[in-house]
Symmetry: C2
Subunit: 479 residues, 2 copies
Amino acid sequence: MADEKLTSQSENFSEWYNQLVLRAELADYAPVRGCMVVRPYGWTLWENMQAGLDRRFKETGHVNAAFPTLIPMSFFEKEKDHVEGFSPELAVVTHGGGKELEEKLAVRPTSETIIGYMYSKWVQSWRDLPILINQWGSVMRWELRTRLFLRTAEFYWQEGHTAHASAEEAKEETYRMLDVYADFAENDCAIPVVKGYKSETERFAGAQMTTGIESMMRDTKALQSGTSHYFGQNFAKAFEIDFLNKDNELEYAYTTSWGMSTRMIGALIMVHGDDQGMKMPPKIAPIQVVIVPIYRKDKEKDAVMAAVDEVFAELKAGGIRVKVDDREQLSPGFKFHDWEMRGVPLRLEIGPKDIEKNSVALARRDIPGREGKSFVSRLGLLDSVKETLDSIQTSLFEAAKQFRDENIHDPATYEELKEVVEKGWAFSYWCESAECEAKVKEDTKATTRVIPFKQPEEEGTCIVCGKKAHKKVYFAKAY
Amino acid sequence: MADEKLTSQSENFSEWYNQLVLRAELADYAPVRGCMVVRPYGWTLWENMQAGLDRRFKETGHVNAAFPTLIPMSFFEKEKDHVEGFSPELAVVTHGGGKELEEKLAVRPTSETIIGYMYSKWVQSWRDLPILINQWGSVMRWELRTRLFLRTAEFYWQEGHTAHASAEEAKEETYRMLDVYADFAENDCAIPVVKGYKSETERFAGAQMTTGIESMMRDTKALQSGTSHYFGQNFAKAFEIDFLNKDNELEYAYTTSWGMSTRMIGALIMVHGDDQGMKMPPKIAPIQVVIVPIYRKDKEKDAVMAAVDEVFAELKAGGIRVKVDDREQLSPGFKFHDWEMRGVPLRLEIGPKDIEKNSVALARRDIPGREGKSFVSRLGLLDSVKETLDSIQTSLFEAAKQFRDENIHDPATYEELKEVVEKGWAFSYWCESAECEAKVKEDTKATTRVIPFKQPEEEGTCIVCGKKAHKKVYFAKAY
């Protein structure tokens, strides 16, 4: 029931998360092991996120296409790191149309292989390059321990796959798409991110370079919410994507891939949420404004509902995603809590007194209690609403950034590092050896999250082994 | 190569279709039996179709959601007609994460079962109804003989699934969504349709009533391009979707489902295409206008390209989907044929003479040769382009309607029926018996396509057996 209180974040963060996802009707458990159902409220959120990403993809010259859900098993064998990474996670189709198949098919865990195969058919000359294709869909990776949005066997995402005539151009693409993700995360989702490289250990199976964006949840754990990979010629060689270059020589293409998934919804919940529930950033909120009519007697109802309908029509015409909560059997107080839990950024209340004063009460989701409440004139209401939504968008970002920055530590010793990763991130020099990385993981469960592009100019000493180090890295526990 | 001529429709319609789909880069064969790759030009077309449908779904109160791709095999057993209809076509996952599964999973052929299961969890009271959910995605039906867009093992579609508190409301929904499909087909795709009931034999597996829209291809065959089903309480009983009604009695819900797929792209090609290639209706065309610069000498090029860039910017700002074909190595004539083949509704030509006269040459795809060409002033070009696109949209519909009406026959005898279904549709009285239906199919390969909602007032006699008949039906060969 929506009127029961959620478990608080401080009591049990993970329980808080699970309750919220179910009660806000974002998603539900499916009757298939490890799979989820994304309910309309969650899917509308994803549609809004898709729109923000898709616009950016198209502005940077990409087009969408669709490749098959099923991939011949032999395709995975063609790139050795790729097969090692994905084989253990495959769901396998062995029968079709009542007969056993000659070649087994995997439900795609990612599409580099089958897209590589098609590109080899389509590319002959440098004139056919670059190919800049994105695909929206779902993929399947058999997972035993699952959590809605964060880790499920099937999840929804986009996967971009590009092929280029030079290494330089492909690397530019890799960075460009990471910038697109960072811009989307910060401006649309109000989630501050760190951009950087993944360590060799944390790279995508088959990639020569993996970049990612990392953000901090309210429990101070890290979550990777978008990645962009440079493959060099690995996949081009495996799938024979070759072309005649301008000098009329046969050359392998250079490829990239990049993806963002419904994990981003998990990030959204855990970056902005509080004990009352979710906080949707206005730019992607399925419902930006909810109007709650307030009346006690039946004789008040007609006047109130007439005013509510008027305001609804005005906001809707102004491009606001607005909903009227006219449920009869529920009290205004119940409705307030219900929409707070679902994270609607702005609530409007309209009662007999508001009509008298020709005003409307606005209550911001991001500022609790009286402080977040104001009364504005009906004249110019649309402008007031738009300004308030903009202000909420900005302050959600600022609050998340402040929280993150307060929880990034610069430990002086390895002992101190072990302490700080229990309550935040450590930003420390690291010698880039897999041994030191593994030691931190074993001692603390924290991993190297991201080696930021922006580095201090001076060198330092590795926080683990004390050897000379050129780079600082974020160590943190992660989802 | 794009400069080779397509096989003509009259020579070999089916070969013409296959060549066109590949050369226009709408789709390609996948390395998985029976599956297709929808290439960017085809997928952009599908995105435009999706936008037209999705807007109509939302205007009629529907929301989108996502249900799993894999469905437990036992779910199919719960509705006896459904299991008979779909079992032979399933692709089956038997292994996950390296282990054999306890229960096998089917790649969804359609989602009534798993959605029914979830609705039974979500519905308790009449207050939870109606549920009006749609899903965009792909489904898998193991097919041996496949054709791109028309019949592939995996295809892309939307499937709406609704649950209601009364039979009347569910039937209204069934008809409403068929109207949505017909409106979309006629207004956006310029495809005239007949709306009506499917015969009992042709019904969807598990439905109490199936309605559909049917259209005529250029070879006079019929193609069903959208269907809407009323299930009564069949699925609600199988999946226990029950609710407390307003009288506080437990009652089963009434459900519907409706779908339109990428077959519609096949219809689009076969309704409007000619020997030169495709004709895209402007409302859904990926590219509405292509600009071909015309110059012979390098010294002409700068001025021409400056004018082309100006026109491009003006049209783009005006909301037109416009492309400049600035490929260096190709002649204007080659480009003309290439874009004709791909079906771009309107071509603009700009050369030195046009610049002198401050005019632009427009060439309509739907009217070949000089007749379809006009010269308009650069002043007011955007308006001229918009008017011409509107006119093309209308005349594509009119041409298709005229062709269809000319090829619908009213045979006087069964012998005549056998003749006319070789060159068109027969619209005849039918006694509604499965025997007569089967006889026509056996004798001619024509099936009952649709029993139109609009019927003559008088009764007649069955064209097959001569018994009294209440309804007229379309008999035709079909895709």
